[in-house]
């Protein structure tokens, strides 16, 4: 058994850390593109050079830790799906992944319907829809490609919890290209779920580190907060949960290419664990900080919102727990 990163992955991690230390905001995406990070998210067959669970996990954990909110998960899912369907995307183009629907938690095909090769209805909370070169849309049982300038498509943008821009997509007999059955893209979608979980891991590690720093430095009643046992024990519990979350991501990353039933159990276990720990860290890190943790100026606030968003994306802890308990596949 070997939990160490390979030399290639260590180099990838080092280069990523360097980029994230030097660039932020709008400068980050071009720097990641230039360094070929998106290609590391795709397999060779998809036009990339890695695409392994380990690469996806380490890249998104680093992005989460750095607090980078980019439409990279949708782009990764979209590029892989297009490649698998024989329609490779342009390098450097943003692709939006439209999955969530209004009026339902995670049911697909409730608010959107298919008539031949036309879509009618609505998708919601679509990250990166503005300026996307392509939009990948889920329906009840299939994956579709829609051009951003397609007739009958309206994009209504608004801000998301994680500081990305999202949008409602309104389809009125919008022409679309069917890429295939949803079930045929399960490895692609699984990679997206792993990305959200690893992003949450990076975010919650950063939130717990920030909280521990605060407890060590902030004084009340003449002592640092960490000296109060009631707070110290909760900090200890959080650090235990961070390790659980890391192991859950490791399990799933290591089984990303396993047979579907085994992979899906790890996928569900991972998303349940990350969702649970993300919510716990969101609640506890604010509480352990007190009022300052609720302010926009302090770094924790954005972390809390990104944690909640990462839990919510592609099925939250409740959704995957139910499927795990019933022994159901992740995508069907």
């Amino acid at each position: 058994m070997d939990f160490q990163l390979s030399d290639d992955h260590r180099m990838l991690q080092d280069s990523l850390r360097g980029i994230l230390a030097r660039h932020s905001g709008e400068a980050l995406m071009p720097a990641l593109l230039e360094a070929g990070v998106p290609q590391a998210l795709l397999t060779e067959a998809e036009g990339g050079f890695d695409g392994s669970g380990a690469a996806v996990a380490l890249i998104f954990e680093a992005l989460g830790r750095a607090g980078a909110s980019l439409p990279l998960i949708g782009t990764m899912i979209g590029a892989a799906a297009l490649a698998q369907a024989g329609q490779p995307a342009d390098d450097g183009a943003t692709i939006a992944f439209a999955d969530a629907e209004p009026g339902t938690r995670y049911d697909r095909g409730v608010a959107i319907s298919v008539d031949g090769d036309r879509l009618t209805g609505r998708k919601t909370m679509v990250a990166g829809a503005e300026g996307a070169a392509a939009i990948i849309v889920t329906t009840a049982d299939a994956l579709w490609l829609v051009a951003p300038d397609a007739a009958g498509l309206t994009v209504r943008p608004y801000p998301l919890m994680d500081d990305q821009r999202g949008a409602d997509l309104i389809f009125e007999a919008t022409p679309a290209t069917r890429l295939g059955a949803l079930a045929d893209f399960d490895t692609v979608l699984a990679r997206g779920v792993l990305a959200h979980a690893a992003y949450a891991l990076g975010t919650l590690s950063a939130a717990v580190d920030l909280t521990l720093d605060y407890l060590r430095t902030r004084k009340q009643f003449g002592q640092p907060l960490i000296a109060f046992q009631a707070l110290a024990h909760r900090a200890a519990d959080l650090s235990v949960e961070v390790e659980q979350a890391r192991s859950a991501v490791t399990n799933f990353a290591g089984h990303l290419d396993a047979d579907a039933p085994l992979r899906d159990r790890h996928l569900q276990a991972c998303k349940v664990t990350l969702g649970r720990v993300a919510r716990l860290v969101a609640e506890e890190s604010v509480q352990l900080h007190g009022g300052i943790g609720m302010t926009e100026e302090y770094a924790l606030g954005g972390m809390i919102r990104r944690l909640l968003a990462a839990d919510t994306a592609m099925g939250d802890a409740d959704f995957h727990l139910e499927r795990f308990a019933r022994g159901e596949p992740a995508f069907a």
């Binding site: 999955d99 969530a100 629907e101 209004p102 009026g103 339902t104 938690r105 995670y106 049911d107 409730v110 919601t124 909370m125 209504r156 608004y158 801000p159 998301l160 919890m161 994680d162 999202g166 409602d168 009340q220 009643f221 109060f228 009631a230 707070l231 919510r279 609640e283 604010v286 509480q287 007190g290 009022g291 943790g293 609720m294 302010t295 926009e296 100026e297 924790l300 606030g301 954005g302 809390i304 919102r305 909640l308 968003a309 919510t312 994306a313 592609m314 099925g315 939250d316 409740d318 959704f319 139910e322």
Partner: protein, 393 residues
């Protein structure tokens, strides 16, 4: 034992319901339900409607212009108001300063300030917390130095809720830096129009700015604005805090949140069915409802004991902890009911997903209500109060 309300209490509740039905604008109630910020005019307008019935200060004795309600009547009013999504009565003048002035203020202070609270001439805010003195309030440093018939105030306050609307602030200030920390604090009333007062909003993680920082730079305050005696402010502050904690259980708010959660769960689809039919989710909702049923009775038992003259002790700390836990659980469940739609965070003024005001409110409410377990003495401080009392036996 009689678990039902008396005929008088029932009639009182019917009165409150009829008033809310007639006077509460549905558009305003919707804003309250969706957790949108209310304007100053909206809050003042609601105060004025209540005052026209003599109901603004339910907790004040009639001699001071209040309604003189019993604890049970106040509970009924608060529960009915919350369930109808009426604006909350801004507590700083009515619930906090009023009782302090009535017990410790001079006749002149009572005659001048109390009517102005009721008729809306003054909007008060609270100057307690400081950057270095949150839960450890006694370590506050904002100082007031006597200079003739004035005090000169220098320092900073923080978490000043709705201070952006206020023209007056009641402050705890340090008037003696030697000796025991609690014994050098005074209770001072400060006009916020005085030169040297600066207010800066603090933006919270849900995007709202309901709290502020307040700075005092050589602010001259008439010595007549000192409440009670110099250096005795800690006594008055503690008295105020017991009043602040009277509705801390928030049964009405929790009941309103549960009603809302049930409505959302009924409308939201899960596996093609209403989410409320899903056994897992239904069990979670039932779990909180059962907690609320017990807490509601705990609250009434304690109110009833208080009405019979038993002084509230650690009970208010217990209600604070349990009440805030229940409300935060309800907020979390409401977010979870929305699943993928809980991803947006759009407040009033921004355009959000069409027809998704309710989902937006769910995330904003979750974020904003993290404060419940922090403010008014954090739940950790409440646990210390309880365990301290238990240790004494």
């Amino acid at each position: 034992m009689d678990m039902s309300f008396t005929p008088e209490e029932t009639a009182f509740r019917d009165d409150i319901r009829a008033f809310l039905k007639a006077e509460l604008d549905p558009a305003l109630a919707r804003k309250v339900r969706l957790h949108h910020d209310l304007t100053k005019a909206e809050m003042e307008g609601w105060h004025a409607k209540l005052q026209s019935r003599g109901w603004l200060a339910g907790n004040w004795p009639k001699e001071f212009g209040g309604a003189g309600w019993t604890a049970i009547q106040r509970h009924i009013f608060e529960e009915e108001s919350a369930r109808a999504h009426a604006p909350r009565i801004v507590p700083f003048g009515i619930a906090m300063l009023g009782p302090v002035l009535q017990k410790f203020g001079s006749k002149e202070q009572q005659d001048h300030w109390l009517p102005r609270i009721l008729n809306g001439d003054d909007w008060w805010c609270q100057g307690y917390s400081e950057p270095g003195a949150g839960s450890d309030l006694a370590s506050l440093r904002c100082e007031a130095v006597r200079d003739g018939d004035h005090y000169v105030v220098n320092g900073q306050k923080t978490w000043t809720t709705l201070g952006q609307h206020a023209n007056m602030i009641f402050c705890l200030v340090r008037t003696n830096a030697t000796g025991k920390k609690q014994e050098g604090i005074s209770f001072l009333l400060i006009d916020m129009e005085t030169p040297g007062v600066t207010v800066r909003p603090i933006v919270l993680l849900d995007g709202t700015a309901e709290v502020n920082e307040v700075w005092f730079d050589n602010v001259r305050v008439p010595a007549a604005n000192l409440v009670g005696e110099e250096n005795q402010g800690w006594t008055y502050a503690k008295y105020l805090l017991t009043h602040e904690r009277t509705n801390i259980a928030g049964v009405g708010f929790a009941t309103a949140a549960l009603d809302n959660l049930k409505r959302v769960a009924k409308a939201q689809r899960h596996r093609g069915q209403p989410l409320s039919d899903d056994p897992l989710f239904a069990a979670e909702m039932a779990g909180v409802e059962i907690e609320l049923m017990a807490m509601s009775t705990t609250n009434l038992r304690m109110l009833s004991a208080a009405a019979q003259g038993q002084a509230p002790g650690i009970e208010s700390s217990m209600l604070k902890i349990k009440g805030t836990q229940i409300r935060q659980r309800l907020d979390a469940l409401t977010r979870r009911a929305y699943g993928g739609q809980a991803m947006a965070l759009t407040l009033e003024g921004n355009e959000g997903p069409e027809g998704a005001d309710e989902a937006l409110a769910a995330s904003a409410t979750w974020l904003n209500n993290r404060k419940l377990s922090i403010y008014g003495g954090s739940n950790e401080v409440q646990r210390s109060i309880i365990s301290g009392a238990l240790a004494k036996g």
